[in-house]
């Protein structure tokens, strides 16, 4: 990290290799779609040019993802087609519904499909906060950093979004929690 800050491209190449997949997953799930590679490339170039602003002791991951999220935002703002941004389950999981699978697996796969459809239907901000918290596995503080929101907004939007998804829980689970 220190060597990268000193302008050492060999050291920076190691950072690129280490963070590419994570940055790419973030760009894709935040809506960059087919342009995710371009967004990530742009983010790595900008990150290197701004490494002087990176404070020692800070973690590089969220700092980079903030640039990725920002680039993705610029891209999706200029793009009208929202359909292209829809999250999908991978083919193997979607097929579990029809395949010769145990009943509980089929039910779980159906529930996942319903959940992903509901996440796609959420207002943009709520969708992004869920992507950061649960699909990218970021903490509340990291999410606040990546989305450049106050921590309170991360908490309240997460809460609102989870509340909207509550109805999708299996009925028996809802009963369990409302009676217990």
């Amino acid at each position: 990290m220190a060597r990268s800050r000193g302008g050492d491209l060999d050291a920076y190449a190691v950072l690129i290799a280490r963070y590419t997949l994570r940055a790419h997953r973030a760009a894709f799930l935040l809506g960059a779609g087919e342009e995710s590679d371009d967004v990530v490339q742009e983010a790595f170039v900008k990150a290197f040019r701004h490494l002087s602003r990176f404070r020692a002791g800070e973690s590089f991951g969220p700092w980079l993802l903030r640039i990725v999220a920002n680039e993705t935002r610029n891209l999706t703002r200029s793009r009208r087609r929202r359909a292209a941004l829809e999250l999908r389950l991978c083919a193997a999981d979607a097929n579990a519904v029809t395949a010769d699978a145990p009943v509980d697996e089929v039910l779980a796969a159906e529930r996942r499909a319903g959940l992903v459809a509901a996440v796609n239907g959420l207002p943009d901000r709520e969708r992004r906060v869920l992507v950061c918290r649960y699909f990218l596995d970021l903490s509340e503080a990291e999410t606040a950093q990546v989305l450049a929101w106050p921590l309170g907004s991360v908490k309240s939007r997460t809460w609102r979004a989870l509340n909207r998804l509550r109805g999708l829980l299996a009925p028996e689970e809802q009963n369990r929690f409302s009676s217990g």
Binding site: R25, E34, D38, F135
Partner: protein
């Protein structure tokens, strides 16, 4: 309000499970493109455009990523060993393989992962976000350790025909690096485990745990014992370590359920 945490936890774990099953196309290797842009002189605008179109063209079909990884491996093997600067890094199933000396030379028997907790297999299953695979060939593990808030599960077998055998498992979907290994790339070969690609690494190697924020955990640095097999399923990445031959390691790996 008392039930709030209950249903909230349930929605959260459903979301995490859905997250693991999301379709995400593979990423291209951008190191060369970024380097070229950063090294480029004035008037590089046109170069940028050419490079960016190049990336678009390379993204035909998701299978491309596999080709990139395989090509990278070929490059690495062709690289003369002992080069002063580590330029090439191979990342596979949550493990980053780097050619070159590691940070810590002493084996350090006290090496440990952050936040290690011993518990029963059943409790461990409730603590982690991915399914824990157990190799039928070895049976129930003698010890189960979860580390770093459930990010890694280690199954430890002390009495096997091969001596001490350790299997580390971590979520395979996060595209994060969990371990960093310093190897001579001549010691790395490609193998097949249950129809998917795996890597077989021979000889003791230096192994370092990489925390969630991407920094190495110094206290975790240690020399591995024997050989290592690295592979992954869709949801779990695994590394099997011990004084095992390749055939034995592959038999254990393919019995993991």
């Amino acid at each position: 309000m008392a039930d709030r945490a209950g249903w909230q936890g349930a929605v959260e774990s459903e979301l995490r499970a859905a997250g693991r099953a999301l379709a995400v196309p593979p990423a291209s290797d951008l190191t060369a493109a970024v380097r070229q842009r950063l090294e480029g002189r004035a008037g590089h605008r046109r170069d940028e455009r050419v490079l960016r179109t190049g990336t678009v063209r390379r993204r035909r079909g998701w299978r491309a990523a596999l080709a990139v990884v395989v090509a990278l491996l070929a490059v690495l093997i062709a690289t003369p060993q002992g080069r002063a600067v580590v330029l090439h890094v191979l990342r596979f199933a949550g493990v980053e393989l780097r050619q070159g000396p590691g940070p810590v030379r002493s084996p350090g028997s006290g090496a440990s992962l952050p936040g290690e907790r011993r518990m029963s297999l059943e409790r461990a299953r409730r603590h982690v976000s991915f399914p824990i695979l157990v190799p039928a060939a070895l049976g129930r593990p003698g010890e189960v350790v979860i580390s770093d808030g459930g990010r890694v599960v280690s199954l430890i077998y002390r009495r096997t025909p091969h001596g001490l055998v350790r299997m580390d498992e971590f979520a395979g979907h996060l595209d994060q690096i969990v371990f960093e290994k310093f190897v001579h790339l001549g010691n790395v070969t490609e193998v097949e485990v249950n129809g998917t690609r795996g890597l077989w690494v021979t000889g003791p190697q230096e192994l370092v745990y990489i925390t969630r924020d991407g920094t190495p955990a110094v206290a975790s640095a240690r020399l591995t014992t024997g050989n290592t097999l690295i592979w992954g399923t869709r949801r779990v990445a695994l590394r099997l370590e011990g004084n095992l031959g390749k055939t034995a390691a592959l038999a254990i790996a393919s019995s993991a359920r």
